[in-house]
Symmetry: C2
Subunit: 380 residues, 2 copies
């Protein structure tokens, strides 16, 4: 194998593929990165068996040449050293060559690295998915779906199914739902007509997979193709192939958690509320899991307080645009509330309460696609 490649393109692909490579895998060859050169270009592969990522650098794209002098072949390189080597190469052009004894030479300017490679034949083959269950979404919308839900997955392995995000397609509507049983985050988007005959509701994608995918995808209005089989999901763009296993088990029915009435409605500036809860949380850190209290006051004022007897207390009033319905005193986790407010893209949010002991909803004021639910904390 031999080729000459542009360092920046190689670096980008190496960084993407590294997100699937773990040094703690039980299959030794998976600590390496597979490099495959064909007449079309160079493909890098990384996998920890849960997630597999392939990144392709085409020989040329849009008239710009990225890879030259290709002699096809493949090799597996120790991933521990390769990213640092590429990053620190002195020149923009890099030559990679493998001899018959799996010795790899990496040359750039007057610097020359010689590494011991491993036989690419020993690298596991990635499964080829064949499925009719495919649909497309714009990349930036997929990134929104991930960002607005994945933070709410459970970090505890007590109920493993809750560490994933539930993806549903129904009636040409795509929804992501995540819950750790104390709060829930969901986001819907309409799908295009192509998804007419598509319907599934028990696809659960590990939160970690979505977090890594979100890091790799750049903001773009281009499409990404999502294909689902019984136990795997594939996200595919022109030069990226991101495969994740799915979680086993039945995702709980969450729709019945959503209260269908509102006793107190608050409409308030997202950022002002976020900052005031952030301040109240400062002194609540060591006290009952950062619990803050919200109280409706006269003249559309909302009071945010926290109290930690040994340290001190915080009191702040925030002016709300709307405060309607019953008076309310409610306590909740500052962290959950801040997580929810941070992913809102609108200046104002509606908060719908149904009493101090009932879950409450947070929605953007101009968008029905996002819904956040938080369970209050009992305080006496």
């Amino acid at each position: 194998m031999k080729f000459t490649i542009q360092r920046d393109q190689l670096m980008d692909s190496v960084q993407d593929v590294m997100k699937a490579i773990s040094s703690r895998t039980t299959i030794p060859i998976l600590t390496g990165m597979k490099i495959e050169a064909t007449t079309e270009g160079v493909k890098l592969t990384g996998s920890d068996s849960d997630i597999s990522i392939e990144s392709f650098i085409p020989r040329e794209d849009d008239g710009i040449v990225y890879v030259e002098n290709i002699e096809p072949g493949s090799i597996v390189l120790q991933a521990k050293y390769f990213p640092d080597i590429v990053r620190k190469l002195p020149q923009q052009t890099v030559e990679i060559e493998v001899d018959d004894h799996l010795n790899v030479s990496i040359r750039s300017g007057s610097a020359e690295f010689h590494l011991n490679g491993q036989d690419a034949e020993e690298y596991p083959h990635l499964p080829q998915l064949s499925t009719e269950q495919s649909f497309e979404v714009p990349i930036d919308l997929l990134k929104d779906l991930i960002r607005q839900t994945v933070f709410a997955v459970s970090t505890s392995e007590t109920r493993p199914i809750l560490t994933g995000v539930n993806m549903k397609v129904e009636d040409e509507n795509l929804s992501f739902v995540a819950t750790d049983s104390h709060r829930l985050a969901s986001r819907d988007i309409p799908l295009k007509e192509q998804a007419q005959n598509l319907s599934f509701n028990n696809v659960v994608i590990p939160g970690k997979s979505l977090t890594e995918l979100n890091k790799i995808l750049g903001d773009s209005q281009e499409s990404i193709v999502i294909s689902v089989t019984e136990n795997q999901i594939l996200f595919r763009t022109k030069n990226l192939y991101f495969l994740s296993r799915l979680l086993d088990g039945n995702y709980p029915e969450t729709s019945r958690l959503i209260p269908d009435q509102t006793k107190t409605l608050v409409t308030i500036d997202t950022k002002e509320l976020l900052q005031s809860i952030d301040r109240a949380a400062l002194l609540a850190k060591e006290n009952r899991n950062s619990v803050v209290k919200l109280t409706t006051k006269e003249n559309n004022q909302i009071e945010i307080t926290s109290n930690s007897p040994e340290i001190g207390k915080v009191v702040e009033e925030v002016h709300a645009e709307v405060v309607e319905g019953e008076d309310l005193k409610i306590s909740f986790s500052a962290k959950y509330m801040m997580d929810s407010l941070k992913i809102m893209d609108t200046d104002k949010v509606h908060i719908q309460f149904t009493g101090a002991m009932r879950p409450f909803l947070i929605r953007p004021n101009e968008d029905e696609q996002i819904l956040q639910l938080i369970l209050p904390v009992r305080t006496y």
Copy 2:
């Protein structure tokens, strides 16, 4: 106590003073920050008994008012929460007030914090230094002196005296020397006439104190006053008072370590050599403490190599401006060499070797004030 203060100025001072406050101190009140308001302004104090820092915010400076409505008094606040509170306050103006029961109120906009304070009478008094041993240097030169030497102090407590930087004043010359017995860094600067009668050679300042001082001092050509007593050193600017204990014991005589002859002289581009050693060190990380080898070649070429049998090897040639004298093959710690090259401010450096088993010197090519010495590593 009561005053109204500008948040940004308060924040800067709080951050400086925090550098002396440790949560692991054995004297509980030292986990707090002392705040003292006088008609002149507000003084913050932090101390871990090794380092004490006072930062003063004047009532007004250059016609700009920083503190208003002052009712003199003092209090000690828990340092764990205070910096975050100040950082997150909603408005630029902050009011701090203490009642008769040591309750502290911090108000900004509609946010109000109530903290439990401690009696400032219980806070230890900082020693007042009285000494004739004082001199002035420009702040930016002091920062250079620190930056160019402190990295070479020992991190091991085997010989505690080597964890400090030896400060000497002799013949109107100020020098800083640090060594961990494997390498040495020194920097001299001339003092102004005021230092005529000053002479000392066994002042040893803890490396940690200098590192913290360097973080606090901004780049400035203003002067800082340095005062030395038997066991303490004080650095003082208009609004800052930085006191550190000195290390006990005799600092070793280092001048005899400096070789007085040169068998091989190399003059080379600082950055090119640094980057090539950085690359060679990539594969040497797990192999004999990042040892790289330098070999003189024909045509003013220097070869930098490293070799880790299980991983691979790196070879790179760097063109030197001058290669004079005996041929040389020498091995040394890549880390020590990079540390030395990083603090050089000149484009080129002279490296003076006296054989493969002898310490070698690195100097800037246009400056005799900096001297770096590294002991080679034996390899067979």
